[in-house]
């Protein structure tokens, strides 16, 4: 079967975005990005994806406007509480043996995962010795992460998640509520560096003891997943921990052998001592 015109157009659009703006979406899983690009096409009143490409190439403001379609920004505090519970109960005892720690939260989106880690580490007495790197390719998301302000409507879910993760105090100790919004305590981000980093095009930037990269790899094809996982392997110290999203797996990566299953159901892996 010859490829569908739309599929050709999408490939060309992604190539154009890469050449012009150096955002590389060419290795993303097509089914989801196609849906979202067709939504963008309709949103910008374009007849075809080629017409959308024309706009993207000739109007630099369009790249910013396209990013919310090209990336998915869905997150929660303590999303999948059992993941955080496993970190608390199983990973933290190992981390406690280090005098200083570096933790990389890759694809941190609007920051919910960062605040989850900061709170958990504070509750477990690790916060002061830890440096967090929160990275993403979406500037707006990074800015929101840095601001740490979430709508109050979401707090009920966050509170329940925090409790299920084995949270010690009350979540309300960490934010102040005003005008329908919850602002997270700014001391939670004093050890956090927020920066622009792409798992598709950038290199390793630090040696870390834990990498948490959740619900990012699902948007990549297997080849790009492999690139990202190989970066994590390169960044992690020996016996460092890698946490993935609840349906993501190392199984298909060429770097899989460098890791062992640490908490199977929670998708937490440990880098081997010798690799």
């Amino acid at each position: 079967m010859p490829p569908k015109t739309e599929d050709i157009e999408i490939r060309l659009l992604l190539e154009a975005i890469f050449r012009k703006y150096h955002y590389d979406f060419r290795g993303y899983a097509m089914a989801s990005i196609k849906r979202r690009l067709l939504q963008a096409r309709d949103h910008f009143n374009c007849q075809t994806v080629s017409a959308l490409q024309d706009m993207v190439l000739h109007d630099p403001g369009m790249m910013t406007a396209m990013l919310p379609y090209l990336t998915v920004q869905v997150s929660e505090l303590f999303r999948d509480p059992l993941y955080f519970k496993a970190i608390r109960e199983k990973v933290v005892p190992h981390l406690k043996t280090y005098p200083s720690l570096k933790v990389w939260i890759a694809g941190s989106s609007t920051g919910e995962e960062v605040y989850s880690f900061a709170i958990l580490f504070r509750e477990e007495g690790l916060f002061e010795r830890t440096m967090f790197y929160a990275t993403d390719i979406n500037h707006d998301a990074l800015k929101k992460a840095e601001a740490g302000v979430y709508s109050l409507e979401r707090i009920k879910l966050f509170t329940e998640n925090h409790r299920l993760s084995g949270g010690k105090g009350s979540l309300s100790d960490y934010y102040t509520a005003a005008y329908g919004a919850a602002s997270f305590d700014k001391t939670l981000r004093k050890n956090v560096v927020f920066s622009d980093h792409s798992l598709a095009t950038d290199a390793v930037f630090a040696e870390t003891h834990m990498v948490s990269c959740r619900n990012v790899l699902i948007y990549f094809d297997r080849e790009l997943q492999d690139r990202a996982i190989t970066l994590f392997k390169g960044s992690l110290a020996r016996k460092g921990f890698l946490g993935l999203g609840s349906k993501e797996t190392l199984r298909f990566s060429s770097s899989a052998d460098a890791f062992t299953d640490f908490a199977h159901d929670e998708r937490i892996y440990q880098k081997r001592d010798v690799t």
Binding site: M1, A31, S32, V72, V74, R222, K247, T249
Partner: protein
Amino acid sequence: MSTVMKSRKASDIIVRHTEPEAVVIGVSAGGLKALSAILPTLPADYPLPIMIVIHLPPDRNSVVAKLFDDKCALTVREADDKEDILPGYVYFAPPDYHLLIESDRRLSLSSEEPVLFSRPSVDVLFETAADVYGEGLIGIILTGANPDGAAGLKQVVKEGGRALVQRPDQAYASAMPEAALAMSPQAESLTLEQIADELIKAVQV
């Protein structure tokens, strides 16, 4: 294009030129019972992969695959991201993720926004499956109390696939099959037993 004699009765003859390649099922309220009338009837060597979206409260969802794996001759799993789609396997969308089909015949998951208040969404599964399998797809809508799946089934039909819908008068909740039939009048409206039979017949040479 295949030749499809449009029909709403199982007894009518349907002439198709393409071999079926995959089955997608969308179901909501009353779904466990409806699926129990279909999945356990399929033999261990059933050659088509079956991808399913069922709307359930998130905590119930993750045990569904296990439940059917025990009841069925087929292997039933909750989908993992980027796994190869294997013939004769049944894949359920995991709780809180959309399930999508990639053109290299792999499964993909996504946590993008709910569609029609649903994540997983029947529409998302059906639309991406229709895109990949075209005429080789069989799309099935069963009982449910919301209109999810109607747009997806329409896309299955548009791409030349076959559409089966549980008879609304027999469904535990009729809204979902009714919505699907309203958007795809050419879909075949059948009982659960007839749907199970059609799945067997579809792979007989």
